[in-house]
């Protein structure tokens, strides 16, 4: 409420912008590239909002880019005449607990849950809980992490269309809350606001599980043209 009224950022870490872009086959973007447009939007927003600029040009040798660009972009080409952009802004704290687990082929939902509980028991307190937890299962290692990020793009309160996964999301959320880590990691009942699961077919010899979380300042929005 205070942030909204005074136009102050919800958190001092105004994060790195991630966008998943779905471009319809009947769409023509005029006047420049989408990547340039998104970077320009970030540049303008972070300047106008006086948000902290947190991006360095190179992990080892770079200096701050001074405008919070570039963002991280995933492009997908789909059928139709629309353009959709899922924006997600994540700070460094919650991104630092991102984990990839290559579990044994044939792992069960309980195995995956134990992996998630073990990781969050060690790390959730570092990521400003209560968390929104994205779980990507399947694909390959790289894609499992992408799926987990994509899971965070769903609006809050939305549930998985498959009732089997809806049940797992509910159960895993309840069990994460039983870890007792609590808001900001100081102990309590609410460590997790929601769990979201995304899946994809995978190789018979692999069982990748990506775990990507957002802190309690869950900053996302979907735009559509």
């Amino acid at each position: 409420m205070v942030a909204e009224e005074r136009r102050l950022p919800l958190c001092q870490d105004t994060g790195m912008v991630m966008a998943e872009i779905r471009v319809g086959s009947e769409v023509c973007v005029r006047g420049g590239s989408l990547r340039q447009a998104l970077d320009e939007a970030i540049r303008l927003a972070y300047r106008e909002g006086y948000f902290r600029k947190s991006i360095i040009a190179d992990p080892f040798f770079g200096k701050n880019t001074q405008d919070n660009t570039p963002g991280v972009y995933f492009f997908e080409w789909v059928e139709g005449d629309h353009l959709e952009i899922d924006l997600l802004v994540k700070g460094g704290g919650c991104d630092n607990i991102t984990t990839l687990g290559m579990l044994e082929p044939g792992s069960t939902p309980d195995d995956v849950e134990r992996f998630i509980l073990r990781e969050l028991d060690r790390k959730a307190a570092l990521a400003c809980p209560p968390l929104v937890v994205g779980v990507g299962i399947g694909g390959n290692g790289a894609y499992a992490l992408f799926l987990a990020s994509r899971a965070l793009s769903r609006p809050l309160g939305s549930s998985h269309p498959d009732p089997r996964y809806r049940e797992l999301e509910k159960r895993w959320c309840e069990d994460i809350n039983r870890l007792g880590i609590g808001p900001q990691g100081v102990g309590g009942r609410v460590t997790c606001l929601e769990v979201r699961i995304e899946t994809y077919p995978c190789h018979i010899a692999s069982f990748p599980v990506g775990l990507v979380c957002s802190c309690h300042v869950f900053r996302r929005k979907t735009l559509r043209w």
């Binding site: 009947e26 579990l103 102990g187």
Partner: protein, 76 residues
């Protein structure tokens, strides 16, 4: 073919970033309020929730499950 100009994209994405950095959505606010109520109303429950989940964390074989395929402690 539908034409979309980058100027429109820049404007809308900029406005969205300005908004989500200062304003949490309605559902999130409600969830945080619910969390606050849960924390304040059931203090006595804090002690017993954790041991029950730790049993689950260890797994049915009493080991620190899950087993992982050749990746040591499971970090990818």
């Amino acid at each position: 073919m539908k034409e979309i100009w980058v100027f429109d994209i820049i404007e809308e994405v900029k406005n969205a970033l300005l908004e989500i950095n200062v304003r949490s959505d309605v559902v999130l606010r409600q969830k945080m309020l619910d969390a606050l109520v849960a924390e304040e109303s059931e203090d006595e429950g804090k002690e017993y929730v954790r041991p029950s989940i730790l049993r689950k964390l260890r797994g049915s074989r009493g080991t620190e499950a899950p087993s992982l395929s050749g990746h040591g402690d499971g970090y990818g």
